[in-house]
Protein backbone atom coordinates (compact mmCIF):
# COMPACT_ATOMS: atom_id res chain seq x y z
CA UNK A 1 0.00 0.00 0.00
CA UNK A 2 2.68 2.48 1.04
CA UNK A 3 4.72 1.13 -1.83
CA UNK A 4 1.92 2.03 -4.24
CA UNK A 5 1.40 5.48 -2.73
CA UNK A 6 5.11 6.16 -2.82
CA UNK A 7 5.40 5.21 -6.47
CA UNK A 8 2.23 7.15 -7.29
CA UNK A 9 3.66 10.22 -5.59
CA UNK A 10 6.89 9.87 -7.51
CA UNK A 11 4.89 9.64 -10.75
CA UNK A 12 3.02 12.83 -9.92
CA UNK A 13 6.24 14.63 -9.14
CA UNK A 14 8.24 13.46 -12.12
CA UNK A 15 5.79 12.31 -14.80
CA UNK A 16 8.52 9.69 -15.40
CA UNK A 17 8.66 8.98 -19.10
CA UNK A 18 10.64 5.80 -19.64
CA UNK A 19 12.34 4.75 -22.84
CA UNK A 20 13.92 1.36 -23.33
CA UNK A 21 16.27 1.77 -26.26
CA UNK A 22 18.06 -1.52 -25.76
CA UNK A 23 17.69 -4.33 -28.31
CA UNK A 24 16.24 -6.69 -25.72
CA UNK A 25 14.81 -6.55 -22.23
CA UNK A 26 17.09 -7.32 -19.27
CA UNK A 27 17.75 -11.05 -18.91
CA UNK A 28 15.67 -12.35 -15.98
CA UNK A 29 18.22 -15.11 -15.30
CA UNK A 30 21.02 -12.65 -14.70
CA UNK A 31 21.52 -9.89 -12.18
CA UNK A 32 21.65 -6.33 -13.49
CA UNK A 33 23.60 -3.30 -12.49
CA UNK A 34 21.85 -0.16 -13.70
CA UNK A 35 24.30 2.72 -13.73
CA UNK A 36 23.24 6.30 -14.28
CA UNK A 37 24.20 9.94 -14.04
CA UNK A 38 23.56 11.30 -10.58
CA UNK A 39 22.09 14.68 -9.70
CA UNK A 40 19.39 14.14 -7.09
CA UNK A 41 18.49 12.04 -4.08
CA UNK A 42 15.47 10.84 -6.04
CA UNK A 43 17.55 9.30 -8.85
CA UNK A 44 17.83 5.82 -7.41
CA UNK A 45 14.24 5.47 -6.28
CA UNK A 46 12.91 6.78 -9.55
CA UNK A 47 14.82 4.20 -11.58
CA UNK A 48 13.60 1.58 -9.14
CA UNK A 49 10.00 2.73 -9.43
CA UNK A 50 9.81 2.57 -13.23
CA UNK A 51 11.20 -0.97 -13.53
CA UNK A 52 8.69 -3.66 -14.44
CA UNK A 53 7.43 -5.45 -11.29
CA UNK A 54 9.44 -8.66 -11.74
CA UNK A 55 12.69 -6.73 -12.14
CA UNK A 56 11.78 -4.21 -9.46
CA UNK A 57 11.28 -6.83 -6.78
CA UNK A 58 14.86 -8.01 -7.13
CA UNK A 59 16.48 -4.60 -7.62
CA UNK A 60 17.97 -2.58 -4.79
CA UNK A 61 19.02 1.05 -5.17
CA UNK A 62 22.36 2.08 -3.77
CA UNK A 63 21.86 5.18 -1.64
CA UNK A 64 23.67 7.42 0.80
CA UNK A 65 23.35 6.23 4.38
CA UNK A 66 23.52 9.73 5.87
CA UNK A 67 20.51 10.90 3.81
CA UNK A 68 18.23 7.90 3.96
CA UNK A 69 18.93 6.88 7.56
CA UNK A 70 18.34 10.31 8.99
CA UNK A 71 14.62 10.48 9.70
CA UNK A 72 12.07 7.87 10.62
CA UNK A 73 10.06 8.16 7.43
CA UNK A 74 13.04 8.07 5.08
CA UNK A 75 14.47 5.18 7.03
CA UNK A 76 11.18 3.32 6.77
CA UNK A 77 10.98 3.92 3.02
CA UNK A 78 14.56 2.94 2.35
CA UNK A 79 14.39 -0.25 4.37
CA UNK A 80 10.85 -1.53 3.94
CA UNK A 81 9.74 -0.14 0.60
CA UNK A 82 12.69 -0.15 -1.76
CA UNK A 83 15.26 -2.06 0.30
CA UNK A 84 18.08 0.37 -0.35
CA UNK A 85 21.66 -0.71 0.00
CA UNK A 86 22.85 2.11 2.22
CA UNK A 87 26.48 2.92 1.79
CA UNK A 88 28.78 5.04 3.85
CA UNK A 89 29.97 8.20 2.14
CA UNK A 90 32.24 9.66 4.75
CA UNK A 91 33.59 7.07 7.14
CA UNK A 92 34.68 4.18 4.98
CA UNK A 93 36.52 1.36 6.67
CA UNK A 94 37.55 -2.05 5.38
CA UNK A 95 34.46 -3.63 6.96
CA UNK A 96 31.84 -1.30 5.57
CA UNK A 97 33.54 -0.58 2.26
CA UNK A 98 30.88 0.08 -0.41
CA UNK A 99 32.30 -2.30 -3.02
CA UNK A 100 32.31 -5.16 -0.56
CA UNK A 101 28.71 -4.43 0.39
CA UNK A 102 27.59 -4.27 -3.23
CA UNK A 103 29.30 -7.51 -4.13
CA UNK A 104 27.47 -9.25 -1.34
CA UNK A 105 24.15 -8.04 -2.77
CA UNK A 106 25.00 -9.28 -6.26
CA UNK A 107 26.11 -12.62 -4.83
CA UNK A 108 22.73 -12.87 -3.15
CA UNK A 109 21.07 -12.68 -6.60
CA UNK A 110 19.75 -9.13 -6.37
CA UNK A 111 20.27 -6.36 -8.91
CA UNK A 112 21.65 -2.91 -8.15
CA UNK A 113 21.07 0.69 -9.12
CA UNK A 114 24.44 2.38 -8.96
CA UNK A 115 25.87 5.84 -9.53
CA UNK A 116 29.47 5.68 -10.71
CA UNK A 117 30.04 9.41 -10.23
CA UNK A 118 29.75 8.88 -6.50
CA UNK A 119 28.29 12.20 -5.51
CA UNK A 120 25.58 14.25 -7.12
CA UNK A 121 26.59 16.59 -9.88
CA UNK A 122 24.95 19.86 -10.85
CA UNK A 123 22.94 18.07 -13.50
CA UNK A 124 24.25 19.83 -16.59
CA UNK A 125 27.28 17.61 -17.02
CA UNK A 126 28.20 14.09 -16.12
CA UNK A 127 31.23 13.93 -13.85
CA UNK A 128 34.14 11.53 -14.08
CA UNK A 129 33.23 7.95 -13.16
CA UNK A 130 34.95 6.67 -10.05
CA UNK A 131 36.57 3.28 -9.91
CA UNK A 132 33.68 1.56 -8.09
CA UNK A 133 31.99 0.44 -11.29
CA UNK A 134 35.24 -1.09 -12.51
CA UNK A 135 35.61 -3.03 -9.28
CA UNK A 136 32.13 -4.44 -9.74
CA UNK A 137 32.76 -5.41 -13.35
CA UNK A 138 35.97 -7.25 -12.55
CA UNK A 139 34.32 -9.19 -9.75
CA UNK A 140 31.01 -9.74 -11.47
CA UNK A 141 31.51 -10.04 -15.21
CA UNK A 142 28.34 -12.14 -15.46
CA UNK A 143 26.00 -9.33 -14.51
CA UNK A 144 24.41 -7.09 -17.15
CA UNK A 145 25.65 -3.52 -16.88
CA UNK A 146 22.85 -1.32 -18.18
CA UNK A 147 23.44 2.40 -18.73
CA UNK A 148 20.61 4.78 -17.81
CA UNK A 149 20.38 8.47 -18.57
CA UNK A 150 18.28 10.64 -16.27
CA UNK A 151 17.03 13.99 -17.41
CA UNK A 152 15.58 16.85 -15.34
CA UNK A 153 15.79 15.15 -11.95
CA UNK A 154 18.28 17.75 -10.82
CA UNK A 155 15.47 20.26 -11.27
CA UNK A 156 12.93 18.27 -9.26
CA UNK A 157 15.13 18.09 -6.21
CA UNK A 158 18.39 19.99 -6.71
CA UNK A 159 21.34 19.59 -4.43
CA UNK A 160 20.74 21.43 -1.20
CA UNK A 161 16.95 21.64 -1.51
CA UNK A 162 14.54 19.82 0.77
CA UNK A 163 11.25 20.36 -1.06
CA UNK A 164 10.69 18.96 -4.54
CA UNK A 165 9.11 20.74 -7.52
CA UNK A 166 7.15 18.67 -10.07
CA UNK A 167 8.68 18.43 -13.54
CA UNK A 168 8.51 15.85 -16.29
CA UNK A 169 11.61 13.66 -16.18
CA UNK A 170 12.82 11.15 -18.70
CA UNK A 171 14.67 7.93 -18.07
CA UNK A 172 16.43 6.27 -20.98
CA UNK A 173 17.68 2.71 -20.61
CA UNK A 174 20.33 1.50 -23.07
CA UNK A 175 21.82 -1.80 -24.20
CA UNK A 176 23.95 -3.67 -21.67
CA UNK A 177 27.54 -2.51 -21.89
CA UNK A 178 29.62 -5.18 -23.67
CA UNK A 179 32.63 -6.17 -21.57
CA UNK A 180 36.05 -6.34 -23.19
CA UNK A 181 38.55 -8.74 -21.53
CA UNK A 182 41.69 -7.13 -20.10
CA UNK A 183 40.41 -3.63 -20.67
CA UNK A 184 42.19 -1.02 -18.57
CA UNK A 185 40.37 0.70 -15.76
CA UNK A 186 40.33 4.21 -17.18
CA UNK A 187 39.38 3.00 -20.67
CA UNK A 188 36.50 1.05 -19.22
CA UNK A 189 35.26 3.94 -17.09
CA UNK A 190 35.52 6.26 -20.06
CA UNK A 191 33.51 3.86 -22.19
CA UNK A 192 30.86 3.43 -19.49
CA UNK A 193 30.48 7.20 -19.22
CA UNK A 194 30.12 7.49 -22.99
CA UNK A 195 27.41 4.81 -22.88
CA UNK A 196 25.36 6.97 -20.50
CA UNK A 197 26.04 10.15 -22.46
CA UNK A 198 24.89 8.70 -25.79
CA UNK A 199 21.46 8.08 -24.26
CA UNK A 200 20.91 11.78 -23.80
CA UNK A 201 17.90 12.57 -25.91
CA UNK A 202 17.83 15.45 -28.30
CA UNK A 203 14.79 17.68 -27.82
Amino acid sequence: MIDLLFRGGLRLLTGAQTFWTGASAPDPDKVQVYFANHSSHLDAVLIWSVLPPDLRSKTRPVAARDYWKKYGFRRYLSQKVFRAVLIERTHCTKENHPVKQLCEVLEGGDSLIFFPEGSRGKGEEIGVFKSGLHHLVTRFPDAEYIPVYLENLNRVLPKGEVLPVPLICTLTFGDPLPLIPNEGRSEFLQRAREAVLTLKREL
Binding site: L12, G15, R155, P158, P164, P166, L167, I168, L203
Partner: protein
Protein backbone atom coordinates in the same frame (compact mmCIF):
# COMPACT_ATOMS: atom_id res chain seq x y z
CA UNK B 1 -30.24 13.25 -11.13
CA UNK B 2 -31.11 16.06 -13.50
CA UNK B 3 -33.05 14.44 -16.40
CA UNK B 4 -31.43 16.79 -18.94
CA UNK B 5 -27.99 15.76 -17.71
CA UNK B 6 -28.98 12.13 -18.16
CA UNK B 7 -29.94 12.74 -21.79
CA UNK B 8 -26.76 14.74 -22.35
CA UNK B 9 -24.56 11.94 -21.05
CA UNK B 10 -26.51 9.33 -23.01
CA UNK B 11 -26.01 11.28 -26.25
CA UNK B 12 -22.35 11.89 -25.46
CA UNK B 13 -21.54 8.24 -24.91
CA UNK B 14 -23.71 7.17 -27.84
CA UNK B 15 -21.62 9.43 -30.10
CA UNK B 16 -18.43 8.01 -28.64
CA UNK B 17 -19.74 4.51 -29.27
CA UNK B 18 -20.48 5.40 -32.91
CA UNK B 19 -17.00 6.89 -33.25
CA UNK B 20 -15.46 3.71 -31.85
CA UNK B 21 -17.42 1.55 -34.29
CA UNK B 22 -16.34 3.73 -37.22
CA UNK B 23 -12.72 3.57 -36.07
CA UNK B 24 -12.96 -0.20 -35.73
CA UNK B 25 -14.48 -0.64 -39.21
CA UNK B 26 -11.82 1.62 -40.76
CA UNK B 27 -9.08 -0.44 -39.15
CA UNK B 28 -10.64 -3.74 -40.36
CA UNK B 29 -11.01 -2.40 -43.91
CA UNK B 30 -7.40 -1.24 -44.16
CA UNK B 31 -5.28 -4.34 -43.95
CA UNK B 32 -1.94 -2.54 -44.01
CA UNK B 33 -1.68 -0.39 -40.92
CA UNK B 34 -2.33 3.25 -41.55
CA UNK B 35 -0.84 5.98 -39.33
CA UNK B 36 -3.86 8.29 -39.69
CA UNK B 37 -6.31 5.57 -38.68
CA UNK B 38 -4.14 4.46 -35.80
CA UNK B 39 -3.94 8.04 -34.56
CA UNK B 40 -7.70 8.39 -34.95
CA UNK B 41 -8.32 5.28 -32.87
CA UNK B 42 -5.85 6.39 -30.21
CA UNK B 43 -7.72 9.69 -30.04
CA UNK B 44 -11.11 8.01 -29.76
CA UNK B 45 -9.84 5.80 -26.98
CA UNK B 46 -8.45 8.83 -25.15
CA UNK B 47 -11.81 10.57 -25.59
CA UNK B 48 -13.50 7.69 -23.81
CA UNK B 49 -11.18 8.01 -20.86
CA UNK B 50 -11.48 11.81 -20.73
CA UNK B 51 -15.29 11.74 -21.01
CA UNK B 52 -15.57 9.06 -18.34
CA UNK B 53 -13.37 10.96 -15.92
CA UNK B 54 -15.10 14.24 -16.56
CA UNK B 55 -18.64 12.86 -16.34
CA UNK B 56 -17.85 10.93 -13.20
CA UNK B 57 -16.35 13.99 -11.52
CA UNK B 58 -19.33 16.15 -12.45
CA UNK B 59 -21.81 13.53 -11.27
CA UNK B 60 -20.01 13.21 -7.94
CA UNK B 61 -20.57 16.90 -7.33
CA UNK B 62 -18.79 20.25 -7.42
CA UNK B 63 -16.09 19.19 -4.96
CA UNK B 64 -14.97 16.30 -7.14
CA UNK B 65 -15.09 18.52 -10.21
CA UNK B 66 -12.86 21.01 -8.43
CA UNK B 67 -10.49 18.20 -7.47
CA UNK B 68 -10.32 17.11 -11.10
CA UNK B 69 -9.57 20.64 -12.29
CA UNK B 70 -6.96 21.07 -9.56
CA UNK B 71 -5.25 17.94 -10.86
CA UNK B 72 -5.51 19.22 -14.44
CA UNK B 73 -3.93 22.53 -13.42
CA UNK B 74 -1.20 20.67 -11.58
CA UNK B 75 -0.38 18.54 -14.63
CA UNK B 76 -0.59 21.52 -16.99
CA UNK B 77 1.73 23.53 -14.74
CA UNK B 78 4.13 20.60 -14.62
CA UNK B 79 4.27 20.50 -18.43
CA UNK B 80 4.63 24.25 -18.71
CA UNK B 81 7.40 24.46 -16.13
CA UNK B 82 9.24 21.54 -17.75
CA UNK B 83 9.20 23.43 -21.01
CA UNK B 84 10.56 26.67 -19.58
CA UNK B 85 13.41 24.71 -17.95
CA UNK B 86 13.64 26.70 -14.71
CA UNK B 87 16.95 27.59 -13.11
CA UNK B 88 18.04 27.04 -9.54
CA UNK B 89 16.75 30.45 -8.47
CA UNK B 90 13.16 29.51 -9.34
CA UNK B 91 12.99 26.40 -7.23
CA UNK B 92 11.38 27.87 -4.12
CA UNK B 93 8.92 30.08 -5.95
CA UNK B 94 7.85 27.13 -8.07
CA UNK B 95 7.26 25.10 -4.94
CA UNK B 96 4.90 27.87 -3.83
CA UNK B 97 3.18 27.88 -7.21
CA UNK B 98 2.52 24.14 -7.19
CA UNK B 99 1.78 23.39 -3.58
CA UNK B 100 0.45 26.60 -2.06
CA UNK B 101 -0.98 28.96 -4.66
CA UNK B 102 -2.70 26.34 -6.82
CA UNK B 103 -4.61 24.64 -3.97
CA UNK B 104 -5.58 28.01 -2.46
CA UNK B 105 -6.93 29.22 -5.78
CA UNK B 106 -9.20 26.18 -6.11
CA UNK B 107 -10.18 26.41 -2.46
CA UNK B 108 -11.28 30.02 -3.00
CA UNK B 109 -13.31 28.95 -6.02
CA UNK B 110 -14.82 26.14 -3.95
CA UNK B 111 -16.00 28.35 -1.10
CA UNK B 112 -17.54 30.69 -3.65
CA UNK B 113 -15.54 33.75 -2.58
CA UNK B 114 -15.79 35.43 -5.94
CA UNK B 115 -13.77 38.60 -5.26
CA UNK B 116 -10.83 36.87 -3.66
CA UNK B 117 -10.68 34.05 -6.19
CA UNK B 118 -10.52 36.63 -8.99
CA UNK B 119 -7.66 38.67 -7.51
CA UNK B 120 -5.71 36.05 -5.60
CA UNK B 121 -3.29 35.03 -8.37
CA UNK B 122 -3.16 38.29 -10.37
CA UNK B 123 -2.48 40.34 -7.24
CA UNK B 124 -1.09 38.23 -4.41
CA UNK B 125 0.45 35.47 -6.50
CA UNK B 126 2.03 37.88 -8.94
CA UNK B 127 3.40 39.99 -6.10
CA UNK B 128 4.82 37.06 -4.20
CA UNK B 129 6.56 35.34 -7.12
CA UNK B 130 9.04 38.17 -7.84
CA UNK B 131 9.63 38.65 -4.10
CA UNK B 132 10.40 34.98 -3.58
CA UNK B 133 12.63 34.93 -6.64
CA UNK B 134 14.49 38.01 -5.42
CA UNK B 135 14.99 36.42 -2.01
CA UNK B 136 16.57 33.44 -3.76
CA UNK B 137 19.32 35.83 -4.78
CA UNK B 138 19.81 34.59 -8.34
CA UNK B 139 19.92 37.61 -10.65
CA UNK B 140 20.72 35.82 -13.90
CA UNK B 141 17.77 36.37 -16.27
CA UNK B 142 15.78 37.49 -13.26
CA UNK B 143 13.06 39.36 -15.15
CA UNK B 144 12.48 36.70 -17.78
CA UNK B 145 12.42 33.90 -15.22
CA UNK B 146 10.02 35.71 -12.93
CA UNK B 147 7.70 36.66 -15.76
CA UNK B 148 7.61 33.04 -16.89
CA UNK B 149 6.61 31.81 -13.46
CA UNK B 150 3.88 34.44 -13.26
CA UNK B 151 2.61 33.55 -16.68
CA UNK B 152 2.67 29.85 -15.92
CA UNK B 153 0.39 30.51 -12.94
CA UNK B 154 -1.98 32.69 -14.95
CA UNK B 155 -2.31 30.25 -17.83
CA UNK B 156 -2.27 26.89 -16.10
CA UNK B 157 -4.10 27.77 -12.90
CA UNK B 158 -5.91 31.10 -12.97
CA UNK B 159 -7.53 30.86 -16.40
CA UNK B 160 -8.32 27.17 -16.05
CA UNK B 161 -10.00 27.74 -12.69
CA UNK B 162 -12.69 29.86 -14.37
CA UNK B 163 -14.22 26.70 -15.84
CA UNK B 164 -15.14 25.02 -12.54
CA UNK B 165 -16.04 28.48 -11.18
CA UNK B 166 -19.11 28.21 -13.40
CA UNK B 167 -20.46 25.66 -10.92
CA UNK B 168 -20.65 28.29 -8.19
CA UNK B 169 -22.50 31.00 -10.08
CA UNK B 170 -25.96 31.82 -8.77
CA UNK B 171 -28.27 32.00 -11.74
CA UNK B 172 -31.94 32.77 -10.95
CA UNK B 173 -34.25 29.99 -12.11
CA UNK B 174 -31.30 27.65 -12.69
CA UNK B 175 -30.57 26.39 -9.19
CA UNK B 176 -28.38 23.28 -8.84
CA UNK B 177 -28.11 22.91 -12.59
CA UNK B 178 -24.80 24.66 -13.18
CA UNK B 179 -23.04 21.40 -14.08
CA UNK B 180 -24.79 21.66 -17.44
CA UNK B 181 -23.19 25.05 -18.26
CA UNK B 182 -19.79 23.53 -17.58
CA UNK B 183 -20.72 20.66 -19.90
CA UNK B 184 -21.90 23.19 -22.46
CA UNK B 185 -18.52 24.99 -22.37
CA UNK B 186 -16.43 21.83 -22.51
CA UNK B 187 -18.50 20.16 -25.24
CA UNK B 188 -18.58 23.25 -27.47
CA UNK B 189 -14.85 23.86 -27.09
CA UNK B 190 -13.90 20.24 -27.73
CA UNK B 191 -16.36 19.87 -30.61
CA UNK B 192 -14.78 22.96 -32.11
CA UNK B 193 -11.34 21.32 -31.90
CA UNK B 194 -12.59 18.07 -33.41
CA UNK B 195 -14.61 19.74 -36.16
CA UNK B 196 -11.77 22.10 -37.07
CA UNK B 197 -9.59 19.03 -37.43
CA UNK B 198 -12.19 17.22 -39.55
CA UNK B 199 -12.93 20.22 -41.82
CA UNK B 200 -9.23 20.96 -42.13
CA UNK B 201 -8.35 17.36 -43.04
CA UNK B 202 -11.10 17.07 -45.63
CA UNK B 203 -11.36 20.50 -47.25
CA UNK B 204 -8.40 22.42 -45.87
CA UNK B 205 -6.21 24.17 -48.44
CA UNK B 206 -5.23 27.65 -47.33
CA UNK B 207 -3.11 27.88 -44.19
CA UNK B 208 -4.39 30.45 -41.71
CA UNK B 209 -1.26 30.87 -39.60
CA UNK B 210 1.60 29.15 -41.45
CA UNK B 211 4.26 30.50 -39.09
CA UNK B 212 2.58 29.08 -36.00
CA UNK B 213 0.65 26.02 -36.99
CA UNK B 214 0.92 24.72 -40.56
CA UNK B 215 -1.94 22.27 -39.95
CA UNK B 216 -4.53 24.97 -39.33
CA UNK B 217 -6.42 26.17 -42.41
CA UNK B 218 -8.99 28.84 -43.18
CA UNK B 219 -11.44 26.09 -44.25
CA UNK B 220 -10.91 24.26 -40.97
CA UNK B 221 -11.31 27.45 -38.97
CA UNK B 222 -14.53 28.63 -40.62
CA UNK B 223 -16.11 25.20 -40.99
CA UNK B 224 -15.14 24.02 -37.53
CA UNK B 225 -16.19 27.14 -35.71
CA UNK B 226 -19.50 27.52 -37.49
CA UNK B 227 -20.48 23.86 -37.14
CA UNK B 228 -19.45 23.75 -33.48
CA UNK B 229 -21.46 26.91 -32.86
CA UNK B 230 -24.47 25.17 -34.40
CA UNK B 231 -23.91 22.26 -32.03
CA UNK B 232 -23.80 24.74 -29.15
CA UNK B 233 -26.93 26.47 -30.36
CA UNK B 234 -28.74 23.13 -30.54
CA UNK B 235 -27.86 22.55 -26.90
CA UNK B 236 -29.62 25.73 -25.71
CA UNK B 237 -32.31 23.81 -23.82
CA UNK B 238 -29.86 22.61 -21.20
CA UNK B 239 -28.60 26.16 -20.58
CA UNK B 240 -30.26 29.24 -19.09
CA UNK B 241 -29.80 30.95 -22.49
CA UNK B 242 -32.18 31.38 -25.41
CA UNK B 243 -31.20 29.74 -28.72
CA UNK B 244 -29.55 32.82 -30.18
CA UNK B 245 -27.70 33.57 -26.95
CA UNK B 246 -26.42 30.00 -26.86
CA UNK B 247 -25.32 30.42 -30.48
CA UNK B 248 -23.47 33.67 -29.75
CA UNK B 249 -21.82 32.23 -26.66
CA UNK B 250 -20.74 29.19 -28.68
CA UNK B 251 -19.28 31.37 -31.40
CA UNK B 252 -17.32 33.31 -28.81
CA UNK B 253 -16.13 30.14 -27.08
CA UNK B 254 -14.99 28.66 -30.39
CA UNK B 255 -13.11 31.78 -31.48
CA UNK B 256 -11.36 32.15 -28.13
CA UNK B 257 -10.59 28.44 -28.17
CA UNK B 258 -9.00 28.82 -31.58
CA UNK B 259 -6.83 31.67 -30.30
CA UNK B 260 -5.89 29.56 -27.29
CA UNK B 261 -4.60 26.87 -29.61
CA UNK B 262 -2.71 29.49 -31.60
CA UNK B 263 -1.02 30.99 -28.52
CA UNK B 264 -0.02 27.55 -27.28
CA UNK B 265 1.36 26.72 -30.73
CA UNK B 266 3.47 29.87 -30.57
CA UNK B 267 4.89 28.74 -27.22
CA UNK B 268 5.65 25.27 -28.55
CA UNK B 269 7.30 26.72 -31.66
CA UNK B 270 9.35 29.00 -29.48
CA UNK B 271 10.63 26.01 -27.51
CA UNK B 272 10.95 23.73 -30.52
CA UNK B 273 8.61 20.98 -29.39
CA UNK B 274 5.60 19.41 -31.10
CA UNK B 275 3.54 18.62 -28.01
CA UNK B 276 3.65 19.67 -24.38
CA UNK B 277 3.92 16.09 -23.24
CA UNK B 278 2.75 12.58 -23.88
CA UNK B 279 0.26 12.36 -21.07
CA UNK B 280 -2.72 11.40 -23.23
CA UNK B 281 -2.03 8.96 -26.05
CA UNK B 282 -2.78 10.51 -29.44
CA UNK B 283 -3.37 13.93 -27.92
CA UNK B 284 0.00 14.97 -26.55
CA UNK B 285 -0.01 16.52 -23.11
CA UNK B 286 -2.60 18.01 -20.80
CA UNK B 287 -1.92 21.53 -22.11
CA UNK B 288 -2.42 20.39 -25.70
CA UNK B 289 -5.86 19.16 -24.70
CA UNK B 290 -7.03 22.12 -22.62
CA UNK B 291 -5.40 25.01 -24.50
CA UNK B 292 -8.75 26.07 -25.95
CA UNK B 293 -10.53 25.90 -22.57
CA UNK B 294 -7.82 28.07 -21.00
CA UNK B 295 -8.67 30.98 -23.26
CA UNK B 296 -12.41 30.58 -23.57
CA UNK B 297 -13.34 29.81 -19.94
CA UNK B 298 -12.56 33.26 -18.42
CA UNK B 299 -14.51 35.18 -21.05
CA UNK B 300 -17.46 32.80 -20.96
CA UNK B 301 -17.52 32.86 -17.17
CA UNK B 302 -17.55 36.65 -16.92
CA UNK B 303 -20.18 37.13 -19.61
CA UNK B 304 -22.50 34.57 -18.01
CA UNK B 305 -21.94 36.16 -14.63
CA UNK B 306 -22.55 39.65 -15.95
CA UNK B 307 -25.70 38.94 -17.90
CA UNK B 308 -27.32 36.04 -16.08
CA UNK B 309 -26.47 36.01 -12.39
Amino acid sequence: MDPQLKILLAVLFLLLGIASVIGWVLEKRNQQSNAVIRNLNARIKAWWVMCLFFSLAVLLGPKMTLALFTLMSFLALREFVTLIAPGRGDHRSLFWAFFVITPIQYYLIGIGWYGMSMIFIPVYGCLWMPIRNALAGDTENYMARTALVQWALMVCVYFVSHAPALLFLKIPGYVDQNAKILFFLVIVVQMSDVLQYVWGKTLGKHPIAPALSPGKTIEGFVGGILSASLVGMAMYRITPFSWWQAGLFSLLICIMGFFGGLVMSAIKRDRGVKDFGSFIEGHGGMLDRIDSIIFSAPLFFHLVRFYFS
